[in-house]
Symmetry: C2
Subunit: 342 residues, 2 copies
DNA sequence: TATCAAATCCGAAGCGTTTCGGATTATTGG
DNA sequence: CCAATAATCCGAAACGCTTCGGATTTGATA
């Protein structure tokens, strides 16, 4: 483990100058810089980020804190999030670590501990709620963070989000344009901000078309196939009059809905039209929809790069305006939407 | 963020003494210690682990480095591992973090980086191969680590393992005792050390009974239901003469095997006997086997506490003898094993 | 030639903690 | 009453890095 001192000794330079050379400061001779970097390579120098953090306040380490919940065991999305972010940050010479808090109540204290322990430079927070204490907490402490998604209302923090309201609006709007009057929305768990945003978009489309909002047609649940299946059954063979179209918050739900329709002897799109949102997760799902599924599409994987960029930007003190983005989705028309029968 | 200096000032003590008081050193007056701890609480003092690491070489942070592989996305076991370990370490006042390397080749360099960066005290390594470069690498650097499982042969490092050879041996032995002569083993991916150990136990039972080893009956694959299903089909409707019993490396495989037998019109245990190993994972699997499944049982969750204990023991320099354990499994006889027909 | 600015360098302080070596006081045994 | 011992305490150095303020050299400018 070579140190700055070793390099400085070898080159007959001061530790100061070696440090400045390696960190690309301006006041060091180009030739010196070259020699220093050469020597650093030769000696396999790796900066001690502990010492760096102590001296400069920056460690180059950022983290994600999530509460353990039993549901996540079966939900591979976590790995996707963590490895996506990990790759992006290590591409920027930073370290990304995951910390699992034992329960939801422990998240804020865990932040507190990690912060005052002084080992992390910032955090990324995922799956925000419509109103979320985490952002307030971190803001209050002045700790840099970036959010995947955003809260409703004022967002004075960096974030990357997709146009959830827009995609729900457009899905509903297109179905309405095809003559549908009873449109269901099978959404994620309530109070997640993106869930709420989609509900808003859905309602907006309804009200613009002067269609009534029927609570029977709005469903919440964890976004898996089981949810799609059960909600599908309830919608199409339940108490109320069934919808003629359904919007699914993701592909798994759509899969469940297809299964339920199959079981009930209903067919897509002649009996029921379906639109889903496609997060483009890796894994064995998707692809195999028949009839081919019309979707709004925005790859989850597109989020990691901007999230990493925004968080480092925040740490470096860039202005907020450069650190916020709401990405567009793509509307992909396939075969699962048809004219409403009446 | 109070520091030691703040406390020392408030109490008119030296920083040294405050540090020693908080760390339970011997040469500090009981009364002083009490006062110090009180003040620390009052000022919400949290030790700066960055500074601590720099001064003492210990940060109280340990980590797990795993290579990203697409398969893990669908495999919830990771969350289980990470959260189990996380809980145990935080119970010992330590931090546990996960670092995902972009690919298998990047694991060793990632260790290298994290080590010379000087932020972690040690590592836990999981899913060892029969011969595994990670242990050699870490040993060579003198970095503390603990292994979940162990390599074949000399193990001069702390580990927690279960008696894989024993459970495979006993499973095979019992089936042989019930008159079975053709016994299949659907095992995990080759070259994992626990997979190899189980193969060894299986072969040992065969050879003790003077039964031939038939490569047709030994299957390897990722340990999920799909594997159990396909291997089941191949075993029981494939080229070779089918077995009368099958040992499954975990419950998911067993589930797939049950499905395959069901599909082929074979029944348990009259046509085929089944024994599986039960890791007792949380999640929606298991439980629903009919007929009830005979298993060897050793909960994965039992591993986290000893692993954490062993790693901190290693860091504190405890002797190796106290830091190794191979846990016993339990044999649970249920309804899936019967006499062999002939 | 004197002056100034730019380029390049360095010493020293400081980040918050641990720890070594000793200092001070109180206690005990002879 | 003195020396030895135990109980408590403290100053200062160290960990490896960054950074502030200034020093030195060079070249251009007036």
């Amino acid at each position: 483990m070579a140190t700055l001192k070793d390099i400085s000794r070898a080159l007959n330079l001061s530790v100061t100058q070696v440090s400045r050379a390696l960190n690309d400061h301006s006041d060091v001779n180009e030739d010196t810089r070259r020699r220093v970097k050469e020597a650093a390579n030769l000696l396999k120098y790796q900066p001690n980020i502990t010492a760096r953090k102590l001296a400069s306040g920056r460690s180059g380490m950022v983290g994600l804190v999530v509460a353990f919940n039993p549901h996540m065991v079966s939900d591979g999305m976590w790995i996707e999030v963590v490895s996506g972010l990990s790759a992006q940050f290590s591409g920027r010479g930073m370290q990304f670590v995951l910390h699992i808090a034992p329960e939801a109540d422990a998240v804020l204290p865990t932040y507190q501990k990690l912060i005052s322990a002084g080992s992390l430079d910032g955090f990324v927070v995922v799956e925000p709620w419509a109103t979320d204490p985490r952002m307030d907490f971190l803001s209050g402490l002045g700790v840099p963070f970036v959010v995947h998604g955003r809260t409703i209302g004022m967002t004075d923090y960096p974030f990357y989000d997709i146009d959830n309201q827009g995609l729900a609006y457009e899905s509903a709007h297109r179905l309405i344009a095809s003559g549908h009057r009873r449109i269901a929305l099978i959404n994620g768990v309530e109070h997640r901000s993106y869930v709420q945003a989609r509900t808003d978009g859905y309602k907006k489309a309804l009200s613009e078309a002067r269609l009534p909002f029927d609570p029977f047609l709005l469903r919440h649940g964890v976004m898996d196939a089981a949810c799609g299946l059960t909600q599908g059954v309830r919608l199409f063979s339940g108490d109320g009059p069934p919808p003629t179209a359904v919007i699914c918050a993701n592909l798994l739900i759509a899969k469940g809905v297809y299964q339920s329709l199959d079981a009930l002897g209903l067919s897509v799109p002649s009996d029921v039209s379906v639109i889903a949102h496609d997060d483009v997760l890796t894994g064995p799902l998707a692809a195999a929809f028949y009839p081919a599924l019309t979707v709004t599409r925005s790859p989850l994987g597109d989020a990691w790069a901007p999230l990493a960029r925004f968080l480092s930007g925040r740490i470096e003190g860039k202005p907020l305006a450069e650190l916020q983005e709401v990405a567009q989705y793509e509307f992909i028309e396939r075969a699962s939407v048809g004219k409403a029968k009446d």
